[in-house]
């Protein structure tokens, strides 16, 4: 498999005409994989207004960019993506297909795998080439364990967890080919109809995934009021607020706050975990943070095992005091 292979195909998601960070992170992984096994890196992007995306993706590591610029791809819809994507995979015939482990990617990748009659490893943290074969490492058992799997059929599909890879420094010295595709989609083949999309009010301030500081709140906050203090502190430090699944399930905060296996993935400079026990499914969404500092009343809380600094105490007393201290430092 090391010779004569067609490398890695990366499906890059687009938001506001720009590639999302996860797409760029996957290009870096694709480069590393092709360095090891040969072949080239092909990126594919679906969306609208994609005039400049080709150059960007080449600067970040793609050798070839396929662009499917079409109004029908303005919003993600798995059924609309599938026919074109299946055709592209068949034509490029890559050894590995990388798809983001995002809301869209997790909806898309399993369908694509079955349509191509191949297998998919979801939520991968790394891929290594051993004996010429891709070995996918993925989280399982709610984040408590990792498994390494290989597939007997090619291509191997994998969804890649956000923040598990580091994107390359973009350079205009890289060259590559940009090709425009025309869609083969028959709109009559779409069987699910989108009736409406309701945007939840954005939390304001910095997007959680881009924030340097993320403050996560859990059941230990004692109630929805606890999130007010967290938001106050986030505003002071230009950070963002997230939450554990348990806090979201209790409706103490918007469900868009949820960090974890079935929520968002963050990897900030500082993750401040407040009243969060540290269940592995939560850690799956914040475990790659540079520093974790946690505040919990239970000295045996699991979260301390992943924390650089820990505070055993009542978060309802400590958080207002922290807000006060930060105000003093900023004054």
């Amino acid at each position: 498999m090391t010779d004569n292979n067609n490398g890695v195909l990366v499906v890059v998601e687009v938001e506001d005409n720009q590639p999302i960070d996860l797409g760029l992170e996957m290009l870096a992984l694709a480069r590393r994989l092709t360095d090891s096994m040969g072949g080239s890196v092909t990126a594919v992007a679906f969306g609208t207004g994609l005039e400049t995306i080709g150059e960007i993706l080449i600067a970040y590591g793609a050798d070839r960019v396929l662009i499917n610029d079409n109004q029908i791809f303005a919003n993600f819809h798995a059924e609309a993506w599938l026919p074109d994507l299946a055709k592209i995979v068949a034509e490029v015939a890559p050894t590995i297909v990388l798809i983001g482990h995002s809301e869209s990617g997790t909806d898309l990748a399993p369908r694509l795998a079955f349509r191509l009659d191949v297998d998919v490893a979801t939520g991968c943290e790394s891929i290594d080439i051993l004996n010429g074969r891709p070995h996918m490492t993925r989280s399982c058992f709610g984040g408590l364990a990792r498994e390494v799997v290989t597939f007997s059929k090619s291509p191997a599909l994998a969804t890649i967890r956000s923040k598990s890879q580091q994107s390359l420094t973009p350079t205009t010295e890289r060259s590559g080919a940009v090709e425009k595709l025309s869609s083969i989609l028959d709109v009559n083949s779409i069987r699910t109809r989108v009736v409406s999309r309701e945007q939840e009010k954005a939390a304001g301030g910095v997007k959680m995934e881009n924030a340097k500081i993320v403050i996560g709140g859990g059941v230990g906050l004692g109630g929805p009021e606890g999130f007010k203090t967290l938001n106050e502190i986030a505003e002071l430090v230009d950070g963002a607020v997230g939450a554990s699944r348990a806090a979201c399930d209790l409706d103490w905060c918007p469900r868009s706050y949820q960090i974890g296996l079935s929520g968002r993935t963050v990897a900030p400079e500082l993750y401040l975990a407040v009243g969060i026990s540290g269940a592995s499914h939560h850690m799956a969404g914040c475990g790659n943070s540079k520093t974790i500092v946690s505040i919990n009343s239970d000295p045996k809380a699991e979260i301390f095992k992943s924390s650089r600094f820990g505070i055993v105490g009542n978060s309802q007393e400590i958080m207002p005091a922290l807000a006060e201290e930060i105000r003093k430092l900023k004054a």
Partner: protein, 270 residues
């Protein structure tokens, strides 16, 4: 209307991390002794979603809820749990005959079972099993049966041959509909599940559980077994965590907060 809910029984995923053990040699989970297996929580919510549809249809509805599972012989926790919650009957595919695992074999086994049950209008699954965390099987079933699939539902309603689903998005809610038959995967945002009542639990023991063999679903023994698997588990392990936690102490909350704020300033975060 026929609803099929695909369920899986797993080790209780809420156990403390310290109790979680892996046999790295055999590449299997070491069950915690004395702990009964449970219905995977997302699957439990899929059962709940089916029950809510039947509740809304009223007492005299013709809605029949069948649960399907693949489990080791005698291991009926998932089925018992689902029947006690209110499902009408169950189909069990038993190991060791059905010992194939992974998305491909599992989805085919379940899809062919659903085909064999016949005239199924709505298929519900959890968004992912809480042990494998793959989220592949539900969508695989829909692809094999060539029916529409809607993922990550927090609300499912049916009306005159159409299923209307509220989907959880990162920044909101999307409402999607499809003609039946269709498959819907259920997310934890569906909300609280009911507890099994004493009455239903007692009735559950008398509800029909069919145990099917490969020929009952039109497959042969090889196709449903580990021989048909297309993936290999190379390694299973618990990641090492070598972080040493330094505790910040103080006499008052203000003192602790001051130390933390200083650390944040030193790291240039304030």
């Amino acid at each position: 209307m026929k609803i099929v809910v695909c369920v899986k029984q797993i080790q209780n995923p809420e156990i403390p991390a310290a109790q979680f053990r892996i046999d790295e040699e055999a590449k299997v989970l070491i069950p915690v002794s004395g702990l009964s297996p449970v219905l995977s929580p997302f699957d439990e919510q899929a059962v709940e979603a089916a029950l809510r549809i039947r509740d809304r249809a009223g007492e005299n509805s013709d809605i029949e809820i069948t649960v399907v599972t693949i489990a080791s012989k005698g291991a009926r926790a998932a089925i018992k749990g689902a029947l006690a919650l209110g499902a009408d009957n169950a189909v069990l595919l038993s190991e060791p005959t059905f010992d194939g695992s992974g998305g491909y074999v599992t989805a085919r086994n379940l899809a062919e079972t659903i085909r064999a049950i016949g005239d199924v209008d709505l298929i519900l699954t959890g968004r992912q099993a809480a042990d494998g965390d793959a989220g592949v099987v539900g969508l695989g079933i829909a692809e094999i049966l060539d029916i529409p699939a809607i993922t990550f539902a927090c609300d499912v309603q049916t009306n005159e041959g159409v299923v209307t689903v509220k989907r959880v998005l990162q920044d909101g809610i999307e409402t999607v509909e499809a003609d039946l038959p269709a498959l819907v995967t259920i997310s934890n945002e569906l909300g609280k599940v009911r507890h099994a009542s004493m009455r239903e639990t007692m009735r559950a023991a008398k509800k029909p559980v069919k145990e099917w063999m490969p020929e009952d679903i039109g497959l042969d023994e090889i196709q449903v077994s580990s021989k048909a698997m297309r993936y290999e588990l190379e390694r299973l392990y618990i990641p090492v965590n070598d972080i040493e936690c330094e505790f910040i102490a103080g006499d008052t909350p203000a003192e602790i907060a001051a130390t933390l704020a200083q650390h944040m300033r030193q790291a240039n975060l304030i």
